[in-house]
Amino acid sequence: MTLLAVFGLFVFLMASVWAAAAFDMACRGWVSGLGARSADRPLRVAAMWLTQQRLTTEAPDRMNGLLSIAGYLALAMVGLAMVPLGPDMALIALPTSVVLWGACEALVVVVVFLHGWSQNAPLAMIGAYRYVAIGLPIMLLSMFVLIAAALPAGSLDLRDIVTSQRDLWNAIRQPLGLPLFLLLGLSLTLRGPFNYADSVDLAGGTSVESSGPDRLAWQVARLAMLTGFSAVAATVFLGGYLGPVLPSPLWLALKTVMIMALVIGLSHMAARTPVARMMGLIWMILLPLSFADLIWAGLVAF
């Protein structure tokens, strides 16, 4: 049964990676005015990268490079595995799953840094350091928001957080929570306004030296993390598997896809500001807002 669940999880992950890539390409087509029909197809791009030679700099840190890709993918899978698919149905059934997710967030900063480090190139290194600078305060924000979401449940277990939303979703009960958490999603998946690691001003940042299969693996890991994050967001803020008529895993999948679409849309439509300005924004506006969210949640819980 567990094996079947793991297999199902993997299939869902790969299907959602494909769907996210296709939607991302279509979004690009819409926003650029060329139309979604002009978009490329994910499988063709994957095949193209697989046919390319794997090139590296003269002395890359090969082990840490592989570790960063595998780690990113593993963290995405852990995130997805701790999400309850139905009442008492979670692959990683942990009474402190919110804490485990927090650890995953922190480790994403480590793996992205390692990816930049392992390339042995200055633009990749700048991307890596920049990501750490922004990744740390964004994580603080996420902690406040997650603790606020756990308050009504009185538990750090994602299963309890879902059941606490039987009457009202956290997205409505704590209106600041989901928008703030989405910003974390942009950062965890290196997208749009929070893509400080792999951005154009660094010619691809931590990916600047990646080619062929390495490039494909890193992009798959990024999209897998988007799935993992979206499933957690759907669970914490949109009632997870709860919903009428349809089977519970389907509700979860639908809500996950919705969050994914929201994050992808945001990443095409919101501008990125230089790091120093973003740092000010996070510390002076977003963190106080997340604290306000926590106070609000506390007041409502009592």
């Binding site: 090139l55 154009v200 062929g212």
Partner: protein
């Protein structure tokens, strides 16, 4: 042809564009061509498109760039001088058929009808071993030295906040996709803060669309493509730019010039009108005055907000400007600089 190659041949062709002098006007709107994907790094490309003439002084940079493309790879010379070092390159003169040529070249490559181009340069380090110790560290104890021309990191005084970080001197350009084409800068960086600047090659007098360049730097590549549609649906573009918060994303006062305009004001001007206005009176400024002390992203925004003619003036002024010139090929700790990025 394997099924994988067959599938890959139907993907958009990943193209890295090396802009030369007098690049065809259509080269700036290549990202709107069907079946072509303009990529930011040669590592992601299968086709190197050389648009316009590469001056003799920059040919060695082109060779280094060429060898950074993974196999299978091909070069297309578009209204460019043929080069003996890449004998199999496809030459194109007209503007209309470029998309078709690129797509066909890529298909031939994957079908095996076209041989992947070999390296131009020999497979050996561009700079010789100059270290002293077993790992080339050479200098003071574990520090210093220039193994294969790459300086070991050494701390240096910081001009901004007193935090002494490792300083690193290297050449950047002339083909970095977010740089004005042709511009080669020797930069000394601490972290990503620019400490010293010297222009070793001025930018071409190109017609690079600055609004698109700035939008790309702000993480809005799709909007950048939309801005290249020749002015159609300008209102929709303006609305989308406003919605994106791009104006707010540019720090106020960044890159202020003698005419009083900052990057934000220049961005506003570009968004309002479809033309890139030239700067007024850049004559008494040097590149160092504009870039030193800025973090990388902000510095790139500044560079992309200035028209090519004004940048050429700033570069010329930099030649005579002590503040902006690096210590002539050696970083402050006495090392030779790195041999270049995306060159």
């Amino acid at each position: 042809m394997t099924w994988l190659n067959h599938l890959a041949a139907r993907a958009h062709v990943p193209v890295f564009v090396a802009f030369g002098d007098d690049a065809p006007a259509e080269a700036w709107t290549l990202s709107r061509l069907p079946g072509v994907l303009i990529v930011d790094t040669p590592r992601a490309a299968s086709v190197l498109l050389v648009a316009g003439t590469i001056p003799e002084a920059l040919i060695p940079y082109l060779h280094r760039l060429h060898d950074q493309l993974p196999h299978p790879r091909a070069t297309v010379l578009w209204q460019s001088r043929p080069t003996q070092s890449i004998p199999n390159a496809v030459a194109v003169t007209g503007g209309n058929e470029i998309g078709l040529v690129v797509v066909n070249t890529f298909a031939d490559l994957l079908a095996g009808d076209r041989v992947s181009e070999p390296d131009v340069l020999p497979n050996k380090p561009p700079a010789e071993w100059r270290g002293v110790g077993p790992h080339g560290q050479g200098g003071k104890g574990m520090m210093g030295g220039t193994p294969y021309g790459r300086p070991m990191a050494m701390t240096d005084d910081d001009i901004r906040d007193g935090l002494a970080l490792d300083s690193y001197t290297a050449e950047f350009g002339p083909f970095l996709p977010f740089f004005p084409p042709g511009l080669v800068l020797k930069l000394t960086l601490q972290g990503d803060v620019i400490q010293k600047v010297k222009a070793t090659h001025p930018p071409f007098g190109s017609g690079r669309p600055l609004l698109a360049a700035m939008l790309r730097l702000m993480g809005l590549p799709a909007l950048a493509v939309r801005s290249l549609n020749g002015g159609a649906n300008r209102r929709v573009l303006q609305r989308l730019i406003r919605l994106s918060g791009a104006r707010f994303a540019i720090p106020p006062g960044l890159g202020r010039m003698p005419d009083g305009s900052d990057v934000r004001a220049r961005f506003d001007r570009m968004t309002r009108t479809s033309t890139d206005a030239t700067l007024q009176n850049p004559s008494d400024m040097a590149l160092g005055h504009v870039l030193i002390g800025l973090e990388w992203h902000a510095a790139m925004l500044v560079l992309s907000s200035i028209d090519a003619a004004s940048l050429q003036t700033l570069c010329k002024n930099s030649d005579n400007d002590d503040a902006s010139s690096a210590t002539d090929g050696r970083d402050p700790s006495g090392h030779d600089m790195h041999t270049g990025h995306m060159s």
